[in-house]
C-alpha cells in the first residue's frame, strides 16, 4: 500500500511539473526605452530623436534583436477610444517586423488630421503559450486579465485579440462562474472564441476541417504620450510610455502628487454633477456612457462629503458650489414621514429608508458646516442626528432600515457598513462644539464603538477574522478626544489588530505574486486571479490613516508605526498609478470626461462615484497629514 501511495504522489508531482511548464510563457526581455522610442519613430516615419543619445548607432542596429515567432509587431492608432487603424508587421528581427508594420501603416487610408491626432500604440508580441479551451471555467482563467491577448492560428495563419481589445470590449473579466450572480471572473471565453473564429473568415465546415491552435500571448506594450492635437513636436521628444493592463505609469508618491490627484478627483465629481444635483452614478469609459440604475443615496452623500473636503483643502469655490448643489438634492430626498422632527433620507416614493443615507448625509453636512457654517444646515443636521440616535439599539448596534409612514424600525435586517457609518457620523459631530457634542451623543458613540469593536465579535467563529470595519476605526480616531479615556484604548487596540489583518492581505514588492504582476503592489487581495480593485485600496487606506494617527497619538513603537506607514504608502502608490489621467485614457471615448476618475478595476472599466470618493479622500488626507 505504501508503494502505491508513493507512486501516486510521484505521478502527481510529474503531472504538476509538466502541466505548469506547458502553460507557462517562455521568459523574455522587455524592450528598453531606447528600443521603444526607435520603434515609434520608425512607425511615425520620423527622424530618430534618440540618435544622439546612443552615440550615432543606427535605428536598425538598435532594433536588431531576434523576434521569436516573427512577432508580430502590432501598431494601432487610437483616437478617442477607437482603433482607427491597426497593422501587423512580421520579421525575424524586431527591425524587420517594424519595417513591415511601418509600410503597412503608411498604406492605411486614414484622414491626415486624425492620423496626427491619434496616439500610436505598439504591441510587440514576445511570448506565446497554449491555452485550454475547455472546460469554460478553465478557459476563463487561461489568460492573465489585461496583460495577455488571445490568439488563434488556423492553418498557420494567426488571428490576434490584443489585451486592449479584451479590455475595451469588456471581455477580460466577464465570465460569470455562478449563474444568476453578478460576480464575474476571467475571460468571457465563448465570446472570444466566436470572435476569433469570425476573424478567421472561414465557414463552420471549413473551420472544423482546418488545423487550429489556440494560444495566449504576452506583448511588450507602449504608447505615445497624450498631448494636445497640434503638438506632434512635443510628442516626438517625449519618451514612449510603457503600458500595463491599459495603464501608463502614474506620478511618484509625494504630497504634491497626492494633492493634485485629490483635486483631479474633485474635478471629476464636479464635472459629473448634473443640473438636478445628482451625480452621473456610473460612467462607462469605453463608449462614454452614463448609467443611473441603482443610484445609491449613501454614495451620493459620500461624494458630497468629498466635494466639501476638497473645498476645505483648496478653498476653490467650484467645489463648494458643487457640494452645495449635491447637498440641496440630498435635503430634498425624503419620503413622507421623514420631514418631522427627525429627518431621514430616501427616495420620495420609498416605503423604507436606510440608516446609511442619513449617516453619510450627516458626515457630508458636518464637513460643509466646518467649511461654510449655516443656521439652516445646523437645524437639518440636528434632525438627522436625532434620527441616527433613535435608530440605536440597547446593545449599541443600530437598526438599519426604517418605515417612515408607520414610524417603525426594522429590528432585524442588517446591511453592510451602516452601523460603522452611523458611528462615524456621531464621531464627526463631536468636533462641532457643545451644541452637537452633548453627553448623550458621546455616550451613544461610546456605546456604538463598544458594540462594533467587541460585542459583535463575541461569537467564537468571528474571532478569526474581521468584517468591514473601516468606518469603525475612522470613528475611533474622529471621536478620540471626546471618548472616555478609560475605554478608548481598547477601541484603538482593535484598530491596531484590524489594520494588521488588512496588512496581511496587501501585496508588497518582493511577494511572488508581485514579481509576476508588479502592478499588484499596494493592492489588497488573496490571489492573482482577480486584478485588484481600487476602491478597497481607497477605503482601507482611509482607515489605515486613521489608525496610524491613533498609533502616533498613543506613542506606539517606531516599528509598529513604520509597518502601518508602509501599508499606507504602498496603497497610495497604487492609487496614484490607477487614477485616470490623459496618458492612460487611450481606450476611453472621452478622456476629458474620465480624467481624475477611478475604474472599478483595470478590467472592469467604469467609474462609480464612490470609487472616486474613497480613493481621493484617502489621498487628500494623506497629502495633508503625512
Amino acid at each position: 500500500m505504501r508503494r502505491v501511495l508513493i507512486a501516486v504522489a510521484a505521478l502527481y508531482a510529474i503531472v504538476f511539473i509538466v502541466v505548469a511548464r506547458r502553460a507557462s510563457l517562455p521568459s523574455f526581455a522587455p524592450l528598453s526605452a531606447v528600443e521603444r522610442d526607435a520603434v515609434i519613430e520608425r512607425l511615425r516615419g520620423r527622424a530618430p530623436a534618440t540618435q544622439g543619445a546612443i552615440g550615432g548607432a543606427t535605428r536598425r542596429a538598435i532594433l536588431d534583436r531576434p523576434l521569436a515567432g516573427g512577432g508580430p509587431v502590432v501598431a494601432t492608432l487610437w483616437d478617442r477610444g477607437e482603433p482607427i487603424a491597426r497593422v501587423e508587421g512580421r520579421g525575424t528581427t524586431l527591425a524587420l517586423a517594424v519595417d513591415d508594420a511601418a509600410s503597412a501603416l503608411a498604406r492605411q487610408s486614414v484622414d491626415t488630421t486624425r492620423r496626427e491626432r491619434a496616439r500610436l500604440k505598439v504591441d510587440v508580441v514576445l511570448a506565446r503559450a497554449p491555452i485550454a479551451t475547455a472546460p469554460t471555467a478553465l478557459l476563463a482563467l487561461s489568460v492573465v486579465p489585461g496583460m495577455d491577448g488571445v490568439g488563434l492560428a488556423v492553418d498557420d495563419r494567426e488571428h490576434l485579440l490584443l489585451a486592449d481589445d479584451l479590455l475595451r470590449d469588456d471581455l477580460a473579466a466577464a465570465y460569470a462562474p455562478v449563474r444568476g450572480m453578478e460576480f464575474t471572473l476571467g475571460l468571457d471565453g465563448p465570446a472570444v472564441l466566436r470572435r476569433l473564429v469570425s476573424d478567421s473568415g472561414l465557414d463552420r465546415a471549413a473551420f472544423r476541417r482546418a488545423s487550429k491552435r489556440w494560444f495566449r500571448f504576452r506583448a511588450d506594450s507602449f504608447i505615445e504620450p497624450a498631448s494636445p492635437p497640434s503638438s506632434q513636436s512635443v510628442r516626438a521628444t517625449t519618451p514612449a510610455l510603457p503600458v500595463v493592463r491599459g495603464n501608463t505609469p502614474g506620478p511618484s508618491l509625494s504630497s504634491e502628487a497626492l494633492k493634485s490627484a485629490a483635486i483631479a478627483g474633485g474635478d471629476y465629481l464636479a464635472r459629473h454633477l448634473r443640473p438636478d444635483g445628482q451625480f452621473d452614478y456610473e460612467y462607462w469609459t469605453a463608449r462614454g456612457q452614463v448609467a443611473m440604475a441603482g443610484y445609491s443615496i449613501p454614495r451620493h452623500a459620500g461624494a458630497t462629503w468629498y466635494l466639501a473636503q476638497i473645498y476645505r483643502a483648496t478653498g476653490d469655490p467650484r467645489f463648494l458650489d458643487a457640494a452645495e448643489r449635491a447637498e440641496a438634492w440630498l435635503q430634498e430626498a425624503h419620503p413622507p414621514g421623514c420631514d418631522g422632527p427627525r429627518a431621514c433620507i430616501g427616495e420620495p416614493g420609498a416605503d423604507v429608508v436606510d440608516l446609511g443615507s442619513a449617516a453619510l448625509a450627516l458626515v457630508a453636512e458636518s464637513e460643509l458646516e466646518r467649511a461654510h457654517p449655516s443656521e439652516s444646515r445646523r437645524r437639518f443636521m440636528q434632525r438627522l442626528t436625532d434620527f441616527v440616535l433613535a435608530m440605536q439599539k440597547p446593545d449599541g448596534d443600530f437598526c438599519h432600515l426604517y418605515r417612515p409612514q408607520t414610524a417603525t424600525r426594522d429590528e432585524h435586517t442588517k446591511m453592510l457598513y451602516y452601523s460603522g457609518e452611523a458611528a462615524y457620523a456621531l464621531a464627526r459631530l463631536t468636533a462641532l462644539g457643545p451644541s452637537f457634542a452633548t453627553p448623550h451623543l458621546v455616550e451613544a458613540l461610546d456605546h456604538a464603538l463598544a458594540y462594533l469593536t467587541d460585542r459583535q465579535y463575541r461569537p467564537f467563529a468571528l474571532r478569526f477574522y474581521f468584517m468591514e470595519d473601516h468606518w469603525t476605526c475612522m470613528a475611533v480616531e474622529a471621536g478620540w478626544d471626546a471618548l472616555p479615556t478609560e475605554r478608548r484604548e481598547s477601541y484603538a487596540k482593535f484598530c491596531d489588530q484590524f489594520v494588521a489583518f488588512l496588512g496581511r492581505t496587501q501585496f508588497h514588492e518582493g511577494d511572488p505574486i508581485v514579481d509576476a504582476q508588479p502592478d499588484f503592489a499596494g493592492a489588497y487581495g488573496f490571489s492573482p486571479l482577480l486584478p485588484p480593485h481600487g476602491t478597497p485600496v481607497g477605503s482601507r487606506s482611509e482607515t489605515t490613516l486613521s489608525t496610524y494617527l491613533l498609533q502616533k497619538r498613543r506613542g506606539l513603537p517606531e516599528a509598529t508605526l513604520a509597518a502601518t506607514r508602509r501599508q499606507i504608502d504602498d496603497g497610495l502608490r497604487f492609487l496614484l498609478g490607477h487614477q485616470i489621467q490623459d496618458d492612460s485614457a487611450y481606450l476611453m471615448a472621452d478622456p476629458d470626461a474620465a480624467r481624475g476618475g477611478f475604474l472599478m478595476s483595470d478590467v472592469a472599466r467604469y467609474v462609480r462615484i464612490d470609487f472616486v470618493q474613497h480613493a481621493c479622500s484617502a489621498m487628500l488626507r494623506a497629502a495633508l497629514l503625512l
Binding site: 500500500m1 501516486v8 505521478l11 502527481y12 503531472v15 504538476f16 511539473i17 509538466v18 502541466v19 505548469a20 511548464r21 506547458r22 502553460a23 507557462s24 503559450a129 485550454a132 478553465l138 482563467l141 487561461s142 489568460v143 492573465v144 495566449r216 511577494d511 511572488p512 505574486i513 514579481d515 509576476a516 504582476q517 487581495g525 488573496f526 490571489s527 492573482p528 486571479l529
Partner: protein
C-alpha cells in the same frame, strides 16, 4: 459493534451523503457524471446492506466499491493538481490564499471519497476468505 457493521453504516451514510450532494445540492448537467454517480451510490448501498446482513457477496462488493471510490478520489486529486499546475503556469505564484483553498479542496475530496474506502479496503483485503459479516 463489529468493524464490518461500522463500515456498513459508514457505507450507507456516505451513499446518502453522495446522493444528497450529487443529486440535490450540486447536480451536474453531464449525464455521464450522473450515471457514474448513480453506479457508485448503488455500490455503496449494496456493500452497506451486504455487510450489515452478512451476505456472502458483501466482501467482493465492498472491495469493488472501495476501489472505484479510491480511483475516483485519485482522479479528482489528479485534476486538482493539474488545475493548480495550469494556473501556476498562467499566473506564476498563486499566493497563500490560493494554496490554502487548493489544500481545503483536496482535503475535502479525500474526506468525502477516499478516507473510508481506504480503511475499508485494507480491512477487507486483510481478512481471510471468511464471510465478511463474521469479522469482529
Amino acid at each position: 459493534v463489529s468493524r464490518s457493521r461500522t463500515f456498513a453504516i459508514l457505507d450507507l451514510a456516505f451513499a446518502a451523503l453522495h446522493g444528497w450532494i450529487g443529486f440535490a445540492v450540486a447536480p451536474s448537467r453531464a449525464v455521464a457524471f450522473q450515471v457514474a454517480l448513480a453506479i457508485v451510490i448503488a455500490l455503496e448501498l449494496a456493500a452497506g446492506v451486504g455487510l450489515l446482513v452478512g451476505a456472502r457477496w458483501a466482501r467482493s462488493v465492498g472491495i469493488a466499491m472501495s476501489v472505484v471510490l479510491l480511483a475516483f478520489a485519485g482522479v479528482v486529486l489528479l485534476l486538482l493538481v493539474a488545475s493548480a499546475a495550469y494556473l501556476r503556469g498562467v499566473y506564476g505564484a498563486l499566493g497563500q490564499g490560493m494554496a490554502v483553498l487548493s489544500l481545503v479542496a483536496a482535503a475535502l475530496a479525500v474526506q468525502l471519497f477516499a478516507l473510508v474506502p481506504f480503511f475499508q479496503l485494507r480491512f477487507l483485503l486483510a481478512r481471510s476468505a471468511a464471510p465478511a459479516a463474521n469479522a469482529k
